[in-house]
């Protein structure tokens, strides 16, 4: 027998939900920043004239893109302690797992962005005496990132939702916290509805921002 809905359960559990949200946001931000940094390095390696870095980056990306995220999370949780000899805890293992996983996806977005810059732009930089790295750094990457902003943000929204998978190593992200409260206080409908609304609002705001940026950068 289900009683009347009681949404006050949200307010009496605000601290748990908020702590969950902090984990979700921490993971999202770290994976975005780390993923883009690492993804940029991977993309430059993949586009390198040298075979070895291009090959290594290619295999790295293939491996992560062919593996379900949940498996990557498990892997780092159980495998890293075997390698390092001591447990690093759930939070660090998922931070590493998410960053590496996202970097594989960001790599492909960034690679496409870099390839969208026409060769004569690079030539113009080189003709001025810039080195290859300087031309990449000052001419190619700024333009590439401008073209990529919408795609990078879209990937970030997906990532934000994927953080809910960390429950498998016992971390309490926002959704896991909501689930915990729901089953403990027997307020399943209220909590799942609240969680859905929160995800919907945050992701919609993100999408809106993407669309605004797309208009702004459209020629």
């Amino acid at each position: 027998m289900v009683g009347r809905f009681d949404f006050t359960v949200i307010f009496s559990n605000l601290d748990i939900l908020w702590n969950g949200m902090l984990i979700t946001l921490l993971l999202t931000v770290v994976a975005i920043v780390g993923g883009i940094l690492l993804g940029t390095i991977l993309a430059l390696m993949r586009l390198s004239r040298f075979k070895l870095p291009a090959y290594a980056a290619g295999r790295f990306v293939d491996a992560f893109r062919a593996t379900p995220l949940i498996l990557v999370i498990f892997w780092f949780y159980f495998a890293v302690p075997i390698v390092t000899g001591r447990p690093i805890g759930g939070l660090y293992s998922v931070l590493i797992a998410f960053t590496l996983f996202e970097s594989a996806y960001y790599c492909e977005i960034i690679r496409a962005g870099i390839q969208s810059i026409r060769l004569p732009q690079v030539h113009a930089g080189l003709a001025l005496g810039l080195t290859r790295w300087q031309a990449t750094r000052h001419v190619v990457l700024p333009q590439a990132f401008r073209n990529m902003v919408p795609l990078l943000l879209t990937q970030a929204i997906v990532l934000f939702q994927d953080t809910s998978l960390v429950y498998v190593v016992g971390l309490k992200d926002f959704l896991t916290a909501a689930d915990l409260v729901a089953t403990r206080d027997n307020r399943v409908v209220e909590m799942y509805l609240t969680a859905a609304v929160v995800y919907l609002v945050i992701c919609s705001l993100g999408s809106l921002w993407v669309r605004r940026l797309q208009r702004q950068y459209a020629i």
């Binding site: 004569p120 732009q121 030539h123 113009a124 003709a127 001025l128 005496g129 810039l130 300087q134 000052h138």
Partner: protein, 242 residues
């Protein structure tokens, strides 16, 4: 100053340059003309190493461009290049375009670079456009910025790769005027162009290319007076018929 000796280049099996030899002396202006696909742009890009070549030697001030161990960035910094499609950096302002390589390559201070940029933009008649972005400028204005950007490196020679081909007719002269002034000041220049009026006015020599070969290499008055080769005559009659 620029020596090109027996340069050949292949794209796969296709030979784009066949035993090209010519030279540009200090202060000389050489115009390269010829039908499209004749290898003019490829040849001029070989001079600063943007294109590689398989045979022959190109030296700039005695430094071999194709040699192993040549500091290409340093060599390129000393030769200005202007492209058909301007190739200003769209994410930077006009002033930043002119300052970038001064800061990163010549290690000038920002104040020094900005002063030089202002001076050169003034010279090409664009001193009030410094804060704008390239997309806000007309093609002719963008090309004049591109010339200023190249001059900011204090080059010993300037290469022009069809600098007016992408321009609307009414903008061609504003760019040619800048180039004529540059030539009259004694700048060493190699110019790929179809602007025969420009060639007549300032060129010391005209090089005519066809199918990757240098077919004519003559003093300007000789070239326009009586080009010897049949192909050069045909080419001239085609582009001068209007």
């Amino acid at each position: 100053m620029i020596e090109i000796q027996d340069v050949s280049k292949w794209f796969g099996d296709f030979r784009v340059l066949s035993n090209c030899s010519t030279h540009v002396a200090k202060g000389e202006v050489v115009v390269i003309c010829g039908p499209s696909g004749s290898g003019k742009s490829t040849l001029i890009k070989c001079i600063n190493g943007l294109e590689s070549f398989q045979e022959g030697v190109i030296t700039v001030n005695g430094i071999s461009v194709g040699a192993e161990g040549t500091n290409l960035p340093k060599l390129r910094a000393s030769i200005g290049m202007v492209f058909q499609n301007f190739e200003l950096f769209p994410h930077m302002t006009i002033a930043e375009n002119v300052c970038l390589a001064q800061l990163k390559v010549l290690n000038r201070s920002r104040a020094e670079a900005e002063e030089r940029a202002a001076q050169l933009l003034n010279r090409v008649g664009l001193s009030n456009q410094a804060a704008k972005h390239p997309a806000q400028l007309s093609g002719g204005q963008q090309q004049r910025v591109a010339i200023a950007r190249a001059l900011a490196m204090d080059p010993i020679a300037m290469l022009f790769d069809e600098p007016t081909s992408a321009l609307d007719p009414e903008m061609i002269n504003e760019v040619l005027d800048v180039m004529v002034a540059l030539a009259q000041e004694g700048m060493t220049m190699m110019v790929v162009t179809h602007e025969m009026g420009f060639a007549r006015k300032v060129a010391d020599r005209v090089v005519f290319m066809d199918e990757g070969r240098i077919e004519e290499d003559a003093r300007t008055e000789e070239f326009f007076g009586a080009p010897r080769g049949e192909r050069a005559q045909m080419f001239l009659s085609k582009i001068l018929s209007h």
